[in-house]
């Protein structure tokens, strides 16, 4: 085996959002190259955002990703409201958090049940899984539907919500409309707790990531729709300092730009959020995590499915709490008059930290836009993890090793539809 040259290829990765491929080169028993190739065609959002009116931005950026449109709206409104020096009141902020909880529940349920669990149970997809485990699949679909119910009640539509705007919402839901969700969410909380217990029983390879972890942190609560940026290693900085710490650079073996944090590879997403903020979880989420065998930190990417399940428990509890204390805000939005300047914003997309920066002129026209999605930040860490896993399993045949690589990629729930618009495509030059 040691002198054999092997190449593993997956020309179209399945059960991920968007289009990607994988190429691994093994030379003389050493992994010489790993490329997570993005062939999703670019759509040039940052280019055509220039010249648009600042009030249009959140409707446009939501179209970057159909799985996490609220994240693309939230980071954009955080950045633009910051540029304009506008602040929204607490009732509007609570509604935004509620909306974002809906996206977490829906997106995480999609990933756990429809994309990720089939790997652990040995099925090609959820439909085949449903033939043997119909109750489980129905539970996952109920959870996903509960998340979408929040998105529809608050956002007006589950995919690309229409009710959101700079400063808040076109219309704040009446208290009775939100109260109508509570019964469905209480049942969903039971489903979420059952989900944690279920995925905790999966078989997890013993792997630890050694890279830095980066996530938003919000004092007093688990960061979702806003926050400062923090690392597991103790860094802490505001969104405005993102570019001082995170840079994109070229690596010798490819034309891709990889993000690094102060020169080092890093990971964002559920493992980072949990490791940095697990103490901020609700008691019920913390108990569920402990019962599932999670300590205060989690660096095993295979266990990310458990962290996602714990985050569903948290998000549903948070949604119930917001609904329980909801009072319809007087004005449903704050005025955000245009100011010339630059604004930065972050939020925690289901897949991790999402950074936006906008430069506006005095009339509110966008002069420049910069968007750094989680999957492009995670690329280098995913590739390093793949290299480590392949190195540790060189004894496997190509088919088994390739299948293992695909599982490793799905652990990160990569959203290539988002990332492709900001990544260089790789060209093999051999």
């Amino acid at each position: 085996m040691t002198h054999r040259s092997r190449q593993l290829r997956v020309s179209a990765l399945a059960r991920i959002e968007g289009e990607g491929a994988l190429r691994v080169v093994i030379d003389g028993g050493q992994v010489s190259d790993v490329q997570l190739q993005i062939y999703e065609p670019p759509r040039f959002f940052e280019a055509f955002l220039r010249g648009r009116q600042y009030t249009e931005v959140t409707d446009i950026t939501s179209r970057i990703c159909g799985i996490c449109p609220v994240a693309y709206q939230a980071s954009a409104w955080n950045a633009i409201e910051s540029a304009c020096g506008a602040a929204v009141g607490e009732p509007v902020a609570a509604l935004r958090r509620l909306l974002y909880c809906g996206e977490w529940v829906s997106s995480h349920a999609l990933h756990i049940y429809l994309l990720h669990a089939p790997d652990f149970l040995g099925y090609p997809d959820v439909i085949a899984m449903a033939a043997d485990h119909r109750d489980l699949v129905e539970r996952g679909l109920r959870l996903k539907k509960a998340g979408n119910a929040i998105l529809e009640a608050v956002g007006g539509r589950a995919i690309h919500p229409v009710n959101t705007r700079l400063g808040g919402f076109y219309r704040a839901p009446a208290a009775a409309e939100l109260a109508a969700l509570a019964e469905q969410l209480r049942r969903a909380l039971d489903d979420a707790l059952a989900t944690v217990a279920w995925v905790a029983g999966f078989d997890f390879p013993d792997v630890e990531l050694d890279c830095e972890l980066l996530a938003a942190r919000d004092p007093g609560r688990y960061a979702i729709e806003r926050g400062q940026i923090a690392s597991a290693g103790g860094l802490s900085f505001p969104a405005a300092a993102f570019a001082e710490h995170v840079t994109e650079h070229q690596v010798p073996y490819s034309t891709a730009l990889h993000a690094t944090l102060d020169g080092r590879r890093y990971l964002t997403g559920p493992l980072a959020r949990y490791t940095i903020s697990s103490a901020q979880l609700s008691p019920v989420a913390r108990q569920a995590a402990a019962a599932a065998g999670l300590g205060p930190a989690c660096r095993n990417p295979f266990r990310s499915i458990v962290v996602r399940a714990v985050e569903i428990v948290y998000a549903i509890g948070e949604a119930l709490a917001i609904i329980g204390s909801y009072e319809r805000p007087g004005p449903s939005f704050a005025d955000v008059p245009p100011v010339a300047g630059t604004g930065h914003g972050v939020s925690e997309a289901p897949r991790g930290l999402l950074y936006h920066r906008y430069e506006l002129d005095a009339a509110g026209r966008v002069a420049a836009a910069d968007i750094v999605p989680p999957t492009s930040q995670n690329q280098a860490a995913i590739e390093a993890d793949l290299a480590a896993v392949v190195s540790a399993h060189l004894d496997l045949g190509d088919a088994e090793l390739t299948a293992l690589c695909e599982r490793v990629i799905r652990n990160y729930d990569p959203c290539i539809s988002c990332a492709a618009h900001f990544l260089d495509l790789r060209v093999e030059r051999r």
């Binding site: 179209a12 399945a14 991920i16 959002e17 968007g18 289009e19 062939y39 065609p41 670019p42 759509r43 040039f44 959002f45 940052e46 280019a47 055509f48 220039r50 010249g51 648009r52 009116q53 249009e56 409707d59 179209r63 970057i64 159909g66 799985i67 449109p69 429809l114 089939p118 090609p124 997809d125 959820v126 439909i127 085949a128 449903a130 699949v137 129905e138 679909l141 109920r142 996903k144 007006g156 539509r157 995919i159 690309h160 229409v162 009710n163 919402f169 076109y170 219309r171 994109e248 070229q250 034309t255 730009l257 026209r365 695909e406 539809s417 618009h421 900001f422 260089d424 495509l425 060209v427």
Partner: protein, 267 residues
Amino acid sequence: MTATDPPTLAVWKFASCDGCQLTLLDCEDELLALAREVRVAHFLEASSQVRPGPYDLSLVEGSITTPADAERIAQVREQSRFLVTIGACATSGGIQALRNFGDVAEFRAAVYASPQYIDTLATSTAISAHVPVDFELRGCPIDKRQLIEVITAFLAGRKPVVPDTSVCSECKRRGLTCVMVADGTPCLGPVTHAGCGALCPAVGRGCYGCFGPVTGANLPALTGQLRACGMTPRAVDLVLSTFNVAAPGFAHDSTEPGGSGPGEERR
């Protein structure tokens, strides 16, 4: 297909956000029932099992923006008995068709550090610009009830019931107060294809055209009304230049000289 085999369904992705294919997975109440009626033969977002074609029904998301995709859609067409486009990207080129009115080389350089490695076409075009399409489902994103209707109609061998009327007709049926008449809120409802269920007027917002132009849209009359509601020529240009910017029914004269929106590139 033999008498016992269910028809096969394939879902294809081109340049897009994944939201329209996600709409299929968002049919939480119908998904498992649907899986009994059709065999999901190719749906990469949902399954790692890929069965070879031909396919009875192909749902196509996304627009054509690269030379490779222009070839791939021809192959998809060859393998598909019926081909239905789902969503604004596949039906009119999507928001990425803003490049059609700009300088794509400059766009590429603005976003990518090494633009020479980005293989892209100068335009983002609808699927129908490349291959014959059997049905086009509108929306950014599509509506899941309409998606179920299209699949059901295909299974029953009948035409889908997807009325080519305006958002106004849905707004009236919901009993909503007209936001434009009552509040002077600019609204694209009169020229926009129905299908969403008048979501925006229901929250007091004017329609912003996700479903693209309705057949026979009277755009000059509406743009006059939008101006009367206080919109500037540039604002009118921008609101018509979003997810269905390349749809012929939303083509309009840009009226603001020296503007920096898409309008100036359109002249």
